[in-house]
């Protein structure tokens, strides 16, 4: 029951949501990128979250009775994966990246989906800021006990 455990949990979530926002911004920025380093169009990237567990030493200390009780670690970004869905084919023979039939492969980024995900990430961020503020007020309240 550490004093700042809850703050660490909420701030880990803030960091994770920020990474998610960064990746969404990257997707939107590259929505029309038909040529990347490997010659292929840009592939949409997705952030995968994972519950952050305690470290080995935390669990060991608990088992030998050093630590009082179990604590939580919050959340962390497990991986940033590529969306394997197919590219969008658009007929545009004038485009330099068009194939023999005149079709261009555009990235598999859907702007609307990205915008919705971005709003969701920003709302999650706000929820965690609220949690952080509540923890802060609880800590301040403990200082006032006995006043």
């Amino acid at each position: 029951m550490g004093m700042f455990d809850a703050i660490n949990i909420s701030s880990s979530a803030l960091a994770a949501q920020r990474v998610r926002m960064d990746v969404i911004a990257q997707n939107i920025a590259n929505a029309n990128t038909t040529r990347t380093e490997n010659g292929q169009p840009y592939r949409r990237k997705v952030v995968v979250f994972e519950e952050r567990k305690q470290s080995f030493s935390d669990i060991l200390n608990q088992k030998i009775g050093q630590a009082q009780s179990s604590s939580y670690g919050g959340v962390r970004v497990k991986a940033i994966l590529e969306d394997p869905s197919p590219f969008k084919k658009v007929y545009d023979p004038t485009h330099p990246d068009a194939d023999q039939n005149g079709y261009v492969n555009y990235p598999n980024v859907d702007i609307v989906t990205e915008m919705v995900n971005m709003i969701e990430a920003s709302r999650s961020y706000e929820a965690n800021v609220t949690a952080l503020n509540i923890t802060k007020s609880m800590i301040t309240r403990t200082f006032e006990i006995g006043k």
């Binding site: 029951m1 455990d5 809850a6 949990i9 909420s10 880990s12 979530a13 994770a16 949501q17 998610r20 995968v48 979250f49 994972e50 519950e51 608990q62 088992k63 030998i64 009775g65 630590a67 009082q68 009780s69 179990s70 604590s71 939580y72 919050g74 959340v75 969701e120 999650s124 929820a127 965690n128 609220t130 949690a131 509540i134 923890t135 007020s137 609880m138 309240r141 403990t142 006032e144 006990i145 006995g146 006043k147």
Partner: protein
């Protein structure tokens, strides 16, 4: 004779519970977008029962200093309850963000209330010690 710290101890336990619960709810909110995460909560009765039992010396007896002591964490698991009333989403996550925010606010108000009570209790003893002056 009344133990002057009985009430203070009780308030302390209630604060401990709310403190721990705040951590658990914060963790639920942090993991609102984690696939497969299950929302957790803290059982008040079990927590209080365990806190009260600790004083009754029911600890595992060890005959040697080097023996592994009974871990308090093994009992903690029975106190944390999985909230099964919630609906599971497609990604097998059971966190309901509205409910968690409500619980968080409720818990914080509860904490404020108990800490105020505790302050009043302490001030009462201060008055007694100062002989009402």
């Amino acid at each position: 004779m009344i133990n002057m710290f009985d009430k203070i101890d009780l308030y302390k336990k209630a604060l401990d519970w709310a403190w721990k619960r705040n951590e658990i709810i914060s963790n639920n909110i942090a993991n609102a977008d984690t696939p497969g995460y299950k929302a957790k909560d803290l059982n008040f009765e079990a927590f209080l029962q365990k806190s009260l039992n600790q004083e009754e010396n029911l600890e595992l007896v060890t005959t040697d200093e080097r023996h592994i002591k009974e871990s308090s964490s093994s009992q903690d698991n029975s106190i944390e309850v999985l909230d099964s009333s919630l609906q599971m989403r497609l990604d097998q996550n059971t966190v309901d963000i509205e409910q968690e925010m409500g619980k968080l606010l409720q818990n914080s108000l509860y904490f404020d209330g108990v800490s105020l009570q505790l302050s009043r209790e302490i001030n009462k003893w201060k008055t007694v010690i100062k002989e009402g002056r």
